[in-house]
Amino acid sequence: MAALSETPLLEARGLTHAFGGLRAVDGVDLSLKRGEIHALIGPNGAGKTTLVSLLSGRLPLQGGLLRLEGEDISALPAEGRVRRGIAYTFQITSIFPRLPVFDNVALAAQSRGARDLPAAVAEALDRVGLADLTAQEAGSLSYGHQRLLELAMGLALHPKLLILDEPTQGLAAGEIARFTELVRSLVPGITVLLIEHNMEVVMALADCISVLNFGRLIAQGSPEQIRADAGVQAAYLGGEDAAG
């Protein structure tokens, strides 16, 4: 039964969400294989953040179906999906700034019922390289460190799927390189869905790329395929007129 083990980790069918008359996400199908880094790209306003909000449960589905490991999770609220293994890190850094770094990560670890909190926190912080900052107030960390803390909070949940929403936004070049390494080290233990503007990062990391434009999926494939895709080029360059 080889086919059974090929069940995708996450399977989305016909996801739809409209804000008023604007269909921000319009019938998107998406399938994430276990252990892959899957990148979601698209021009500004293509509906990327809306789409991941539907996946994480921050926005309700208006149409479509969502399965995690074959189980229907369409109606689960966000916190329920987190408990099933979908972790989401925010596009705009969202931590508990007035709590120590330890508590930030401990909140994630205790949410999945970790017995030994100090160990669980140390494990996650070690992974991102913040182990010596546990006692510091999270809000006093540098921006780059706050992004790493977000990631550590995601990892401490021991997720099956980690959704990273523009993780390298605002980072310096050196920090981006380190971040890229870090994300690569997560697979295949964790499946990663990466929303990213930085094409270098996307091309370096992604096994598979989905391209979104005007709320619809316009292409899907390996980095090479996407690079060669005329439709994608048109979307990014503003249509054939601009390209010509």
Partner: protein, 314 residues
């Protein structure tokens, strides 16, 4: 010394000082202190909701009054003895908080303040309306048979102080354990960043409801003891002032600090006591103190202390 050691030493020391105070202070001040301890327990409950979980309620008088009437009416109407009557008061406070929370927690911020205020006013009016069972605006006296656990009449100075001290000690220990527990951390998370907490797998409604029920349990306990220790149950305790008082105590002493409510209740009590001896416009003195507080120590006295070095203060 470890953080845990410092915390035990400080809070143990406070309890020891309070215990010794009944032998050291003249009767007038000892009685004041008994009242302050009961009010501090009420404010501790308020602090659990407001200081730790970020729920600014203006309706806690309802929970205090439920504790008071729950205990008092159990004695007055069905002639229960003190211990079961007190238990009834605790339960009444917690149940009222749960019921109000189920509805009010659908809102947040200013709406939450208004909805809780409205519930408390409705409770106050119900007490007046059902005067046959509640004594209306005159209230009623808790009779001697209903305030004598273990043969000690709680309105006498010695037993009154002992009972207030026991309540306070248990409440303090419970509060410490709560805020240092895993759930205590989740309460803080709700206060600090609710959206992030949800994305860490917590249901904000459930967390806030539980915090509010614990808060109501404290308020109910304080109300029940107040009825027993001072032998009187009255509608004035359900008025809006009694919702504002714990807020003031907490703000003055330090919101989100376990000892804040005790310090705030003590200072405010004596401030009013002294100022009202000097002038009939004592509320102006209270107002001036609050203005100074907001200007120079917006996080309360112990909150300011925590920012200036005592970071371990729970």
């Amino acid at each position: 010394m470890t953080e845990r050691g410092k915390i035990l030493l400080l809070h143990g020391g406070v309890l020891l000082a309070l215990f010794a105070a009944q032998y050291l202070l003249p009767a007038y001040h000892a009685n004041n202190l008994a009242r302050i301890m009961v009010l501090a327990v009420y404010a501790m409950g308020y602090n659990i909701a407001f200081g730790y979980t970020g729920l600014l309620s203006l309706g806690h008088a309802l929970f205090f009054a439920m504790g008071m009437y729950g205990a008092g009416m159990a004695v007055w109407l069905v002639e229960w003895t003190a211990l079961p009557a007190i238990a009834m008061g605790l339960a009444a406070g917690a149940v009222a908080a749960g019921a109000v929370g189920l509805l009010a927690l659908r809102t947040a911020g200013v709406s939450f303040m208004i909805v809780t205020l409205m519930f408390a006013q409705a409770g106050y009016l119900l007490i007046l309306y059902f005067a046959r069972y509640t004594g209306g605006d005159e209230g009623f006296v808790v009779e001697a048979f209903g305030r004598r656990p273990f043969g000690l009449d709680l309105v006498q100075d010695g037993p009154r102080y002992a009972a207030a001290f026991c309540l306070f000690a248990v409440a303090l220990a419970g509060n410490l354990a709560l805020v240092r527990s895993r759930f205590g951390r989740v309460m803080l998370a709700m206060r600090e960043n609710e959206a992030r907490s949800r994305m860490l797998g917590y249901n904000p409604f459930r967390v806030k409801l539980l915090a509010l029920v614990i808060s109501g349990l404290y308020a109910g306990a304080a109300g029940a003891f107040y009825a027993m220790l001072f032998g009187y149950v009255g509608a004035s305790f359900a008025m809006v002032q009694y919702s504002i008082l714990p807020l003031l105590y907490t703000l003055l002493g330090g919101a989100g600090v376990v000892l804040g409510p005790l310090l705030g209740a003590g200072l405010m009590f004596y401030l009013i006591d002294i100022a009202s001896g000097l002038t009939s416009a004592y509320l102006m003195v209270v107002g001036a103190v609050l203005v100074v507080l907001v200007l120079f120590a917006p996080k309360g006295l112990l909150g300011a202390l925590r920012e200036r070095g005592l970071k371990w203060l729970p």
